[in-house]
Each structure stands twice: as C-alpha cells, then as structure tokens.
C-alpha cells in the first residue's frame, strides 16, 4: 500500500512538473519564415521568438480537421484569424514591445507562446 501511495504522489509531482513547471527550450528565432503547423492538438513549434519593435509574419498551416483548430487567437493583440484547412495562412503582427504573448485556439486547448525580445 505504501508503494502505491508513493507512486501516486510521484505521479502528481510528475504531472505538475511536466505540464506546468517545465519550459520547453524549443524556440525558433526569426531566421527566415516562421511556419507553425496546427495538428493533433498542438502548435508545432509552440514557442516562437521574434525581435521587438519589428513587424513580423507567422504562417500557420492547419492540418487538423477539428473546428477547434480553426481559429487562432492572439488575445493580447486583439488578433483572431480563421485558418483554412491544409492551406497557408499568414498572420501579420505589428511591431511589438518585448514580452511574452500567448496564442491559442478559441478554447485554449491549442496553446503557443510568442516571445518578443530586445536582444536580437
């Protein structure tokens, strides 16, 4: 019984760490085009890095059929665009202040982060 409880608690700690505390290091910088694939419940890549103070463009390719994937929302920037299936859709971003902006689907199940930084 002890072991089961220990395993259970380890599982909880694991969940907290894996989903909340861990920050994926995968960041794409603005070298060439930024292309994000929308498929299977995730934005790929989910963390993008762009320089501050310069307008940028992100191209989304939606492959998931589920209507949840059909809209991408940058709620801080008041941008929300529909993504057609299997087509490129470029989203133009204005020049931004440094900071982290999230982009999600309407229901927040797809989540991504846009990191705008000065040191580029």
């Amino acid at each position: 019984m002890m072991w089961i409880n220990i395993i259970g608690f380890a599982l909880i700690v694991g969940i907290v760490w894996w989903f909340w505390l861990y920050k994926p290091s995968e960041v794409k910088t603005d070298e060439g085009e930024l292309i994000v694939t929308v498929e299977n419940g995730v934005y790929q890549p989910a963390r993008l890095k762009i320089p501050a103070g310069k307008p940028a463009s992100i191209t989304f390719i939606r492959k998931a059929e589920s209507p949840c994937a059909g809209t991408v929302v940058f709620s801080d920037l008041n941008i929300s665009e529909e993504l057609p299936i299997n087509q490129e859709k470029a989203i133009q971003l204005p020049a931004l202040e440094p900071g982290t902006y999230s982009f999600t689907c309407q229901m927040q199940m797809y989540r991504g982060e846009l990191i705008v930084s000065d040191n580029n």
């Binding site: 599982l11 909880i12 969940i15 989903f19 419940g41 995730v42 059929e65 209507p67 057609p84």
Partner: protein, 752 residues
Amino acid sequence: MKDNSTIVLAVEGASCGSCVKKIEDALKAVKGVSEASMNFSEGVATVSGNPLTEELIKAIEIAGYSARSITGKSDDELMDEKETAELAYYKKLVRDMAVALTVGVPLMAYSLIVGEMTVTTSTERIVWFLIGMLTLGVMYFSGRHFYIGAWKSFWNHSANMDTLIALGTGTAWLYSMFVIFFPTLLPDMARHVYFEATAMIIGLINLGLSLEIKARGRTSQAIKRLIGLQAKTARVIRDDKEIDIPIEKVILNDLVRVRPGEKIPVDGIVTEGHSSVDESMLSGEPMPIEKTENDEIVAGTLNKTGTLVFKATRVGKDTALAQIINMVKRAQNSKPSIGRLADVIAAYFVPAIMIISVISALVWLNFGPEPSIAFALVSATTVLIIACPCALGLATPMSVMVGVGKAAEAGVLIRNGEALQTASKITTMVLDKTGTITLGAPKVTQIKVMDSSITEEAVLQLAASLEAGSEHPLAMSIVESAQERKLTLSAINNFKAIAGHGVEGDVTDAENSVAKLLFGNERMMRDYNIELNDAVNIAQQFAEEAQTPMYFSVNGKLAAIIAVSDPIKPDSIEAIKRLQHNGIKVVMLTGDNRATAEAVAKKVGITDYFAEVLPEDKSNKISELQALGEIVGMTGDGINDAPALALADVGFAIGTGTDVAIESADITLMRGSLHGLADAIAISKATLKNIKQNLFGAFIYNAAGVPFAAGILYPFFGILLSPVIAGAAMAFSSVTVVSNANRLRLFKAQEH
C-alpha cells in the same frame, strides 16, 4: 520557398492594346516570373512562377498602372470550402460513432441484463480476450484521433480534452486486459472488465462532437447571410461592349449595369438611370431608397425597379460590404473580458483533473471498501471522462459569435467583444442633438409675414437671394426652401455677413429701385434700429417650439420672421423612451441656444441637457459624467464627435444609410434611427446574459460533476457514477453550451 504558383492581378489603368505588352514585359522582368500574360478585356494579368506579389505590383506601378492581387479566394469560396471540410469531418465523426456504438451498445446491454462481466473460467478469459481485441479495433478505428492528439500534446508539455479521453478509455482497457491475463493477481471481486465503457465513451464523445459541429454551423449563420449578399458576377461596359465578369475582376471606374431585381455588385456612383434600391439587408432600413444620377450605391443592396449604370468607386476588399463582413468576422472571434477567467482556468484545467483523478484513486485504495482497486479504477476513469474543458472554453466565444451576428442583422456593427460587454453596462447615454436626435438637415418651418404689403413668396424670394451668398447651414435651408418653390433668385449687391448677427445686402427690382435687405437675429435688428414690437413674442414662441427664429427686414421695416428647425427624427422619441425604460439615463448635448435645446429636450422626453456646448467641450462633458461613476455611452455622427466618441466607454457612430464610418467607433449604427441604439444595448445585454449562463453552467457542471465522479456520494448513499454515464454527460455538456448560444438567434431586440 513556395512551389511554382499562379498569381492573378487585377490591373487598372490599362486603356489601350499596347499597354498589354508593356505590362507583360514589366511582369516578366520581375525575378522569379516564368510566364506572364495579360487579358486586356478582363483587365487581369496572370503570372506563374514564384515571385513576390508585392514586387509584381511594384513593377506594374513603375510601368504606370496600378494593380492588386485577386489570387486570394473570395469570402464565398472560403465559406464553401469551410463548409465542405466541416461536412466531411462531420461524416467521419458519425461513422466513428456508429462503429464504436455497434460494439459498445451490445456490451452495455449485456452488462445490464446478464450481469457482471467477470473473468473466472478459462473460456471466459478467451471470450473476453476476443472482445478486448474488438474493443482495441474500435479504439483504433474510431478513437485514433484522441490517442494521437493526446500523445503529441503530451510531448509538447500540454494537455487537452484528447488527453483526458485517451487516459480514461486507455486505463479502462488496460485494466481489463490485465484482468484477463493475470486474474489471480487480483481479488475475486475485482476481476471485472470494462470494455463496454471504453467503446461507449468513444462512441458518445464522437456523437457529442458531431452534434457540436452541427450546432456550431448555425452560430455563423449571420455572417453567411452577409457573404451571401455579394453578387457573383457584374455586367461591365468596356469599349461599348457589355460583358459579364466575376466581381473580383471589376476594377475602379468600370461602368457597371444593374438591371431590376439584381444585386449591386460593387460600390459606386450612379451615372445613368433611375431606380429604387432596397438597402434593408445592410442598414435595416425597411423603405427602399430612390437613386438617381450622382447618388451613391453600395454593394450587396438590391436594385428594385429600374436599370442603373454606375461608375465603380470601391471594389474588392474595399467595398462597404466587404469591410462590414471583415469587421463582423473579427468581432465574432474576439473575446470580452468576462471570458478571461474561463481562459485562465482552461489553461490549468486538464493537468488539474489528472491530479484529482490520481488523488481519487489513492483515496479509494487507502480507505475504500473491497474490491478497492476496482473502485479506484472506476472513480479515476470517471473523473477523467466527466471533466469537460470544452464547455468552459466554448462558453464565451459561441455566444459572442451569435450576438455579434445578431447585431449585424439589425444593422448594428460591433467592433469587438469588449465593446459588446461594456455596452451592456451603460448607465448614461449621451446623445448629440444635431444629426443624432434630429435629422441634421434644417428646414424652413414657418414664414410669419409682419408687413401686409409684401407676400410670403416675395419674402422667401428676397431672403433666399440674400442668403445665397452665405455659407451658414441655416441659410442653406432658406435657399433650399426657395428652390423647392421654384423661385428665381435675384442678384445681390453690397453683400456683407456679420458673424454672430446675420447678413445684409441690396437688391434692385424691375423698376430699378433699390431695396435694402437685412436678415439676422434680434441683436442685429436692434443694431439697425428696426422696430420689433410684438414680433419678439412671436419669435419667443417659435423658440419654445424648438424652432430657431430669424428676422427679415426690407428698407428698415420688419417684413417677416422666418423660423427654421431641424426636425426630430420620427422615431427618436420612441427610441429614447426605450432607453429610459431600460434604466439608462439619457443626456442631450448641443451647441444650439438654450431655448431651442430645452424645447427639443422636452419634446423627446429628456430632462438632462447641456446647451451651447462648443465642439471641443463635448469630451469634457463625457469625463465629467465618468467622474460621477457613470458608464457613459456617447452617440454622435462619428466625424465631428470623434474625440467624445473615443473618450466614452462605448462610442456609437450613427450612420446615415450605408455610409458607415467604421473606423471611428466601438459600435456603428448603419441606420440613422436611434432604435439601433436601443437594439444594440438590448442585444449586448442578452449576449452577456447568455455568456453568464454558459459560464455558470460550465463551471457548475465541472465543479459538481468531478466530485460526483470521484465518488463523494458513495459514503453517504452508496452511489458511484458509471464511466459510461460520465461519457454521455461530457459529450452533451458542450453541445448544451453551443445550443444555449444558438438560443440567442431567436432574440428579438425590438421588443426590449
């Protein structure tokens, strides 16, 4: 790098055959172009290769023409594509559901009718193993998307609905297989298989998703209707020939012919013909509007009676209709702040549910009755399945989608979700007088002749002749009135305008005698020593009736009092009553004099008004009201009142017809009537109420469902929820949210 693609450009300004070659050469010189050809009659250039569209346009501009890309699909095509894709997805979901339920329902029936699905004998082990493999087939065929989604997002450190379903059904299946392979490791009572749960849940959730798609389709009906207003083709006149071309290919200054019963394809100015045009689909204005030469017409409206030829002034994405569609789409996808909390919760929701599921299993294992492992398994699975992050995530966007669409149908354009939310909370509505409460077009209402030797006609003729030189808006109304009566104006000498007083001038009549004319206010008459006597009382009476009186004298003798008024819109009184009825304090703001302001305010039932407000002071009044803690809406014409509109919590720009000043306000009323204002507020209130119901429902569902699933009732009543029931509840909870949002479509703003 993109593949070899085709770019289509609409080229404007190419008026001769030789331009074709020039344009083609210019295009071919651009890097990456492999082929370029120009169709002269259509005004369209087609380029293949992989050049940048901007560079092509630049090349054409350098060659002396202008161009824009029409490669992009029209809204209509995009909508069709979206619908086809959704239909295909719907069919797939229905098929998946059918397969899963074909396996799940008989198993479920067996467990309910025959009883316990336990594994004791070796025959049972073989039979259940085969059924387990069948269930695996269902998981692969009908539930594959859940598992793949869960797996992919897991490696991305994110979790979503797929994660919950995959974990829930996966756990049930794995446990059942474990029972079959190692029954002896478990106590007798725990040797139970749960294949029916796995198959049923997959079936039910696919059913829920398919119903949700159907319901979602209905939420975008308003935008579909707007897109449907666009004509598909236009008949243009080029080189004296009439050709039918797709509307994307219509270019600026094209002459377009529309016959009776046809939709106007692009915005333009009528050059020929006379007809009445139904603009109700855009403005909500029910009466058709007469159109003749030099009148503006807008795309999407319906030509009713005659044939019109017009010059295209705005085409493609620039037409009023295209802009309206664009704005409604944006607004429909934007979120009011009321939805923020749900977003924050949604972000942490799934991992939190996973943790609750583990805790629930641990509690059962530690404190539960035998077979505790079976109870632990059921409760953990049920918690995972019943939790519905979707209902939470869908609550706000679905209602906003329907509400904004509903408003657009009533001729009310809402900029974004935030404006929608604030509009529902307005406590004070400030209305500009001229053009908002009134028509904004002053008219001569009375001519009171004070000198019996002169006729009314002569008064008007002389006054109009004098005022023809003035630029004052009131002067224009007098000239217009004379024109209406077909009076010919005389030439005026020694014209002089005295600011704040009036105008003077001389006229020579047929007998060559010169008459001295004065036209102005009381102060002017006194300056010139004109005797007024009881005329002042008559003038005062006019002012009390909301008319602006002016004195007219000929040769030093008062000839007449001319009253001008800006008529109140016929439905302003009714609309203001509606606002007040909804508990909104209505305040009027005007630059007019106090007496007229008071009279107008009284007529429309407003007790609070500010008169003689200079245009630049309007925004100060707004701040004053805000300082009192009011949530202030400001309604104005969107051009003169822009600073006040911007400062107000919600700025309403009132348009006339379809002349929309989309950029200037939070909410644009396409119809001139103030009823649009009351409609806008009624719709925003209804939408907010709907959002609250949805959020409340989704919160309660999850907050009550999860503990219930974890077995909180078991110690008291011995009830433990079955995972299958949880699957059904979860599937229908998001359908309920979408359906509730759809209920808004039936809302009738006019009745509130």
